[in-house]
Subunit: 483 residues, 2 copies
């Protein structure tokens, strides 16, 4: 047993030793994914995919609640479509895979595999939208997209990934901007209250915005190595795509006008984020609302009471399942409880339920929190409420810990030298003033490896001078090294 | 008003006049899809896509209930994978689109867009399966797939389509065959009891089976023009893919053995099928369980009672919605009720709810069945039950009508001449004896345009002689022209 455990523990590289290796160790060992034979593409194994299914179900509910409907557009995008929006083609062309042959024949026009669908959807909206009566169009798509990335990392940056992309069209700028902010707020609320990840909401600088957008807004999360992940984006596209695809409508004054469009998306990189935010040296720690198993029951005690304890465990299992709690039971006789404890901690199951013969006598069982390790003896006849309470508590605690970590790794600097020192000595986000020039932003990246993450809506402090040139600051910006 | 209605009616080609045109008219007019700029690819518009969402949700529930979990495998399949299973490559090669360049560079090995995932999944299973303890593997994937078809038809045959593909691996033939039949039965039950489409279950002849399967089983549905649609298939793959991809496991006797695999799938062609089975000259008729809107409320009466009637309509709307019924309301003042009646009939909404000032005095409203036209006056305080009852009744009636139609168009013949006459004069399915030779099967196809659909498990009659050569019949086969 001791050996078994020891061997187990040494299989995960400690975070402090090598965070990247820790990440790969954990996702492989917890069986979330596998590498595929196609460069940069991963296989989402059932436990990894189920996290995505819970993310999907909840977001889909929220999208529909706010009036959106799902549709599905083709995977293939004709080459000529990309030429229509100049910034868009420049942004995406370097990453496109091309279909050049099909059914034994060379195609007349190459087809890109979609990296995002603004162009295809723009083409269709031109046909669908005639009058202000057709507006707003509020459509979302769940789909796979492909970007042929040079440097890949499971979940966080893969050549093919899964995502949703919302595409809406509106009568005017105000409505489109309201939609852009509404969806950003849905993302913020979802990521904070469902995935237990605190985020910084703000606006991207022009050099970091979506190719073809007027304004891009993002939520940025801090991983446990201090790096940033852009967890979701919402774009106000103005009339850029409407002009490129001639999406005009007859307005209330009977005049032709371009629609104003938005797009917004989150992807399977959320899975990578939640692992890097919550995991520890014992393995995964999954937010209860997306955990494939929220509770794992482990019967304990000597062989002679085994049947009795398992019978009661099965009853508790059924009761929890009936209450809509995702519960599992591991009653294998040939594996010792201690090994099981480690196993499900490593897999990130939020709550462990232990029950043995003495607990049965007392009508109780023990709940153990994955995140704090707290053990709570609870009455069996109050089990459902107690489990629900502990799940809620685990969620809160995960959020609080992540928030504390982020606050502790959030720095403020006045000069580029301070920024350099900050990036080298400490890891985290750094707040600094910025004059608004691309040259200064570029210099920060060159010298520190940090990019501007966003201009936060509510910065902790307001900076007055640009950290590079010392000129008056136009914005206070969050800089960080990013995935 | 009269003109409006007339114009409306003439927009849908009658089924008897031209069934194919009727189909296209209906799906376009009911706003289920649009053509895309990519050959053979369609856009699933929200009402079309929502039908698929309801199909997905129910099947997904049934798959999980039977122990399956979802996963996701790459879109791209290396060319060399197809070479490993001889029949498979011959079957699919003619339909593959190829990615030959990505990110500005020519690829070393061409990548096919998946037409189905046996090969990729076989490759992964080889890594995942070591011992009998790893079996069975029960995985399903929801995905887009591409087959570059020459002749396309919206929903029924498109270059890109959406589907699910189950892929399981088992210790032995018996378990794999049980799984094959279990999934076929789930399909049958789902299609009959959810989509209200009666089907013929049976086994495919060798020439019609899946490329690489040992045995293929199918459910076959009859469209209103008498043609067949293969609505779902389940394959016992034997050790064909296990051998090609070397998926071996250590069995209970500690010996290496190949796993036995299965695969099974249904696709968005189910949407096409339900339209062609249930629709009529007034338009769509949607089975209640997949209809985006199950009930449409239409307030009627003169302007002076309008506000009062709409207020009550809103209450009924809320009540139905709360009961989980998908309900809509059309209270537009500038469109006349008669026009609305036609509109939602055309869109296939199963139940219409009319309410006017006199109904309000009497505490009643009127439910109208899309399928029978029956009008039922019901008490408002029993509305939820009455609506649920009528939805159930509409479902039953749709199934019964489809079954009656099928039975009336199900013929039995003894000779090829009879078959020819049957195919030319009448439309439908034809039962005939078959000796088992590919030559005879081929001759039927050449001379009548009909293909063998399947060898039904429970044929209405047992034929003793082959319709072509007159030799003793090995099987009684259903022949039909097919989509």
């Amino acid at each position: 047993m001791a050996n078994e455990e020891k061997q187990f523990v040494t299989e995960i590289t400690p975070q402090k030793e090598d965070f990247s290796r820790w990440y790969i160790d954990v996702i492989k060992k917890a069986d979330l994914m596998d590498y595929s034979p196609v460069r940069g593409c991963i296989v989402f194994k059932p436990d990894g995919y189920e996290i995505w299914e819970h993310i999907q179900a909840e977001l889909d509910r929220r999208f529909k609640e706010t009036g959106h409907r799902n549709a599905y557009f083709p995977l293939f995008i004709p080459e000529s479509f990309f030429q229509k929006e100049k910034e868009h083609v420049e942004g995406f062309n370097p990453e496109l895979p091309w279909v050049t042959e099909a059914a034994g024949e060379k195609l007349e026009e190459r087809l890109a595999i979609r990296p995002t669908s603004e162009t295809m959807i723009g083409h269709m909206y031109e046909k669908w939208i005639q009058s202000y009566r057709d507006l707003p169009v509020l459509i979302n798509q769940w789909a796979n997209v492909v970007r042929w990335e040079k440097r890949t990392l499971p979940f966080l940056r893969t050549s093919e990934f899964l995502w949703q992309e919302g595409h809406t069209a509106h009568e005017n700028e105000q409505e489109a901007r309201e939609e852009t902010m509404r969806m950003l707020e849905i993302y913020r609320d979802f990521v904070e209250n469902f995935l237990a990840i605190p985020v910084i909401t703000g606006q991207k600088t022009p050099s970091e915005k979506f190719a073809g957008a007027v304004d891009t807004f993002s939520i940025e999360a801090m991983m446990k190595d201090g790096r940033a992940v852009q967890a979701g984006t919402s774009h106000y596209l103005g009339t850029n795509f409407a002009t490129a695809f001639n999406i005009q409508y007859l307005n209330r004054e009977n005049e032709h006008e371009f629609v104003h469009t938005t797009s917004w998306g989150v992807s399977t990189r959320l899975i990578g984020s939640l692992i890097m935010v919550h995991g520890d040296d014992r393995g995964l720690a999954l937010p209860p609302k997306v955990a494939p198993k929220q509770v794992m029951i482990i019967p304990i005690g000597p062989p002679k009471t085994r049947d009795m304890v398992i019978a009661r465990s099965d009853e508790l299992f059924t009761e929890l399942k009936k209450a809509g709690i995702r519960v599992g039971i591991d009653d294998r006789a040939d594996v010792r409880p201690g090994w099981k404890f480690n196993e499900y901690e490593m897999r990130g199951v939020p709550v462990r339920l232990e029950i043995g013969p003495r607990d049965m006598e007392n009508g109780v069982c023990v709940l153990v929190s994955r995140i704090s390790g707290e053990k709570k003896i609870v009455q069996q006849d109050r089990l459902v409420e107690e489990v629900q309470m502990m799940l809620e508590q685990v969620h809160q605690e995960m959020f609080n810990r992540a928030k504390t970590f982020r606050d502790e790794h959030f720095y403020s600097v006045d000069t580029l030298d301070e920024m350099k020192a900050s990036m080298e000595e400490k890891r985290g986000f750094t707040l600094a003033g910025w004059c608004g020039s691309e040259a200064c932003e570029h210099q920060v990246k060159e010298e520190t490896g940090a990019t501007s993450r966003n201009i936060p809506f509510e910065p902790e402090v307001h900076k007055t001078k640009c950290l590079v040139c010392g000129e008056p600051a136009k914005h206070t910006v969050v800089f960080a090294r990013a995935y």
